[in-house]
């Protein structure tokens, strides 16, 4: 293999792509519900909008559309993190999330673009089961995962530009530059023969953590970048032990036995899954935010599409676990929204904006809801 191919197609510990995919999906789900949904009230006001891309300019997203897309993305992301992800579902999450921020300049948070790049990398990740990423042996399984290396390089490029623009503006640039170099080194650590490199890499995790803590950024960005850095920089053995402990219940409860085949349970599982798919989105009816019910129903359709033939032709418990993960996603959305300030913030901001614009009827409706959901 040429050096180029050796870099991209060299072995990485499979625990890293397994954990980083699930970590980002879980944080993304709660990020969309807690931080992005309350902002949704700004959408569609006065039917004025400017999109990030000219080809989207003709479309004016409403609050219902924006919240629906976020509910769809969040529920699907969490359900994929809870049970064996499916590539089609990851494509839908990437598309939904990107559409969510791209449809309006109202969402100009720089790291939302970064997350879209990450989701694009995830589309090409191997959809690993817990068993394939974590063996029962002490040795961490390794494999060729070029998309994971691309994920690390993407992060390195971002830090490189942060450092380069800082240098151009005469500001300190050494910390983001160390982060950039660190990610390039971290992407090679699992196949490096050089012992010094394996010693150095875990120490370099201090750079991204220090950079984001010093920058006093929004909480969710700090969480994303710290978690990703720990997964990318930690020694393979530590990550393996952590992942093995974390997935022990999944490996012993969820993963089906190899001997499972087509049997008489097929129709029972089929009907059970169908009922589950129909019932799960109903949980969102209690959320009381525009568009959320539609978003959750679309997630159920997406799940049906993802399961495809598996729904009937796989009599194993896989369809049931998929539906259970959808239930988990819808329940988590409901619990998150009802126990946080998200819904209150949405209606309070809506009332304030409607008052400012002199739309007192809308302001009254929003204020009543804000009072109902006040913490």
């Amino acid at each position: 293999m040429k050096p180029w191919e050796r870099y991209w197609f060299g072995d990485v510990a499979l625990a890293r792509p397994y954990l980083v995919l699930r970590f980002v999906l879980v944080v993304l789900a709660f990020d969309t519900w807690l931080n992005m949904m309350p902002e949704g009230v700004k959408y569609g006001v006065g039917a004025f909008n400017v999109a990030h891309f000219a080809w989207l300019d003709g479309f004016v997203p409403s609050a219902g559309f924006y919240l629906g897309v976020l509910a769809f993305t969040g529920v699907l992301a969490l359900s994929q993190a809870l049970y064996r992800p499916h590539r089609i579902a990851i494509i839908l999450i990437a598309a939904g999330y990107t559409l969510g921020w791209a449809c309006s300049l109202l969402d100009s948070v720089p790291h939302h673009y970064l997350l879209s790049l990450y989701l694009l990398c995830f589309v090409f990740f191997p959809m690993l089961s817990a068993r394939s990423a974590f063996s029962r042996f002490a040795q961490a399984p390794r494999g060729t995962v070029p998309a994971y290396v691309l994920f690390c390089v993407t992060t390195a490029v971002v830090y490189f530009y942060v450092a380069a623009w800082s240098a151009a503006d005469g500001q300190p640039y050494w910390l983001p530059m160390i982060c950039s170099v660190g990610y390039l080194i971290a992407s090679m650590q699992d196949r490096a023969e050089l012992r010094a490199l394996r010693w150095l890499t875990p120490i370099l995790v201090a750079a991204p953590i220090a950079y984001h803590v010093r920058a006093a950024e929004r909480g969710e960005l700090l969480l994303y970048m710290t978690g990703i850095a720990i997964i990318a920089f930690a020694p393979a053995q530590w990550i393996h032990i952590f992942g093995r402990t974390l997935t022990r219940p999944a490996r012993s409860l969820i993963e089906e036995h190899d001997g499972d085949g087509i049997d008489e349970r097929a129709s029972q599982v089929f009907y059970l899954s169908l009922v589950g798919l129909a019932v799960a989105p109903m949980v969102s009816g209690f959320v009381d935010l525009p568009g959320v019910k539609t978003g959750c129903m679309l997630t159920a359709f997406a799940m049906l599409f993802v399961m495809g033939r598996q729904l009937y032709f796989t009599p194993r418990w896989r369809p049931v676990w998929r539906v259970a993960s959808l239930f988990g996603g819808c329940l988590a959305l409901w619990i998150t929204v009802t126990t946080s300030h998200a819904r209150f913030d949405f209606y309070r901001e809506g009332a304030l904006d409607a008052d400012r614009r002199g739309d007192h009827d809308t302001a009254i409706v929003y204020r009543q809801k804000a009072e109902r959901y006040a913490p």
Partner: protein, 150 residues
């Protein structure tokens, strides 16, 4: 117990798959290097999207904005920005984000009998005044700046 057994890792890609993956990776990385550089060619210095100039949203300038329009009969009317669009859009207009200023002025031009739209921003930080004028039917607003005497 079979659930604790190890599944084989994903198969290493074939030579042809490696070739195609390499092309995709090269294009993806090249674009990632290229896109932030487009900042150097942008008319609007405030438009820092996709450039990684900042990891988080940069602090916005503090500016005040006012807008007016001229009717075909020569009558000039103020535009109550805050009553028409969300405050976030008003802030974008006040900060002089060209894409939003242009879109807002074009949007106003869609009303009947409007000949010209004008937006004036006064910013505290550089003490400057920026005026944008759009003759309805034109593609882009004309911008003029004045720095206040200190």
């Amino acid at each position: 117990m079979s659930s604790a057994e190890t599944e084989p890792p994903p198969e290493p890609p074939s030579a042809s798959a490696r070739r195609w993956s390499s092309r995709f990776i090269a294009a993806f990385v090249f674009l990632q290097f290229l896109i932030p550089l487009t900042y150097l060619t942008r008319d609007d210095a405030a438009d820092e999207r996709f450039t990684w100039r900042h990891f988080a949203s940069p602090a916005a300038r503090s500016c005040e904005t006012s807008a007016s329009l001229e009717r075909l009969d020569g009558q000039r009317e103020p535009i109550p920005l805050q009553r028409l669009i969300h405050q976030d859009w008003v802030d974008y207009v006040a900060q002089g984000r060209r894409a939003v200023v242009d879109a807002f002025m074009q949007w106003e031009c869609e009303s009947e009998d409007v000949l010209e739209v004008e937006v004036t921003n006064r910013c505290d930080d550089d003490g400057g005044t920026h005026e944008y004028t759009l003759r309805c039917g034109s593609a882009r607003a004309h911008e003029s700046s004045r720095t206040a005497l200190r």
